[in-house]
Amino acid sequence: MNHHIVPLKIYFAIFAALMAGTALTVWAAFQDFGEFNTLVAVVIAVVKAALVVLFFMHVKYSDKLIWVFASAGFIWLIILFAFTLMDPMTRDWLPVGAPLPM
């Protein structure tokens, strides 16, 4: 079989980027970006995850079908989040009842 063999250089570069990303996210956690704190952390995590998926998991070198499957997982995850959270996020738009006593 002739599969794409990823050059070692790339593996090490990605590894370095992931380690840097970890340091970055720890550093960022101690900075105050106001309401963007979580967003920053999540963006860094998404970038790291994307690097793993594309290079360590070879998606960059795989055929279209694998791309589609890999993306489908994450798209459906977003559907799950978005459509579920839509409910609690819009509770006071037209209240069905008074707010929760908490």
Binding site: M1, Y11, F30, A45, F56, L77, F81
Partner: protein, 214 residues
Amino acid sequence: MAESRNPLAHHFDSLEQQYAAAKLGMWSFLITEVMMFGGLFLGYILYRCRFPEVFAQGSHHLDIKLGAFNTAVLIVSSLTMALAVHAAQEGRKQATLTYLFFTLMLGLTFLGVKVIEYSDKYQHHLIPGARFLWSEGDAGPPQLFYSYYFCMTGLHAIHMVVGAGLLLWLMALTARNRFSPAYYTPIEMVGLYWHFVDIVWIFLFPLLYLIGRH
């Protein structure tokens, strides 16, 4: 080199077809994993939006150093796993074995650290349930945080344990010359799995350990 046993199963026409099927199957499986962890993340997000302060307080009881250390451990293990696949592709048996072994050791290190962290939670009465103790007001929401902490890291840890088993199995097969540059599908598939488990942790670490540290 390769043993006499033919890696091509009867219902496939070619090794190429068999490999493509395995790969697609593995990715389908990973999708199911994404959705399964997704259900946990969903509840976590909802409750974190509802009780932001409590979740921040809860996360302050987690050890950020151990968390960061474990993140690094997993990233290194992902690298060694990738190198193992690389070595298998080139048919270097000894290197494959070595890299698989390193990956396994790193995985076990991760689990060891997790044990330390869990027992610390136990001593501080942070295990949700009847023994849960919380001095800073209503113990309800903090329990939710720890319930999610344990469910999420617990499910992740179970995946690590399964992964460790798979690595042992691969090492046994490699030692028995089951693989060749023409057929190393299991190593690559376990690799995909291992990287996926790494990705889960890449999200768990900031979400659980790093809230509101500033």
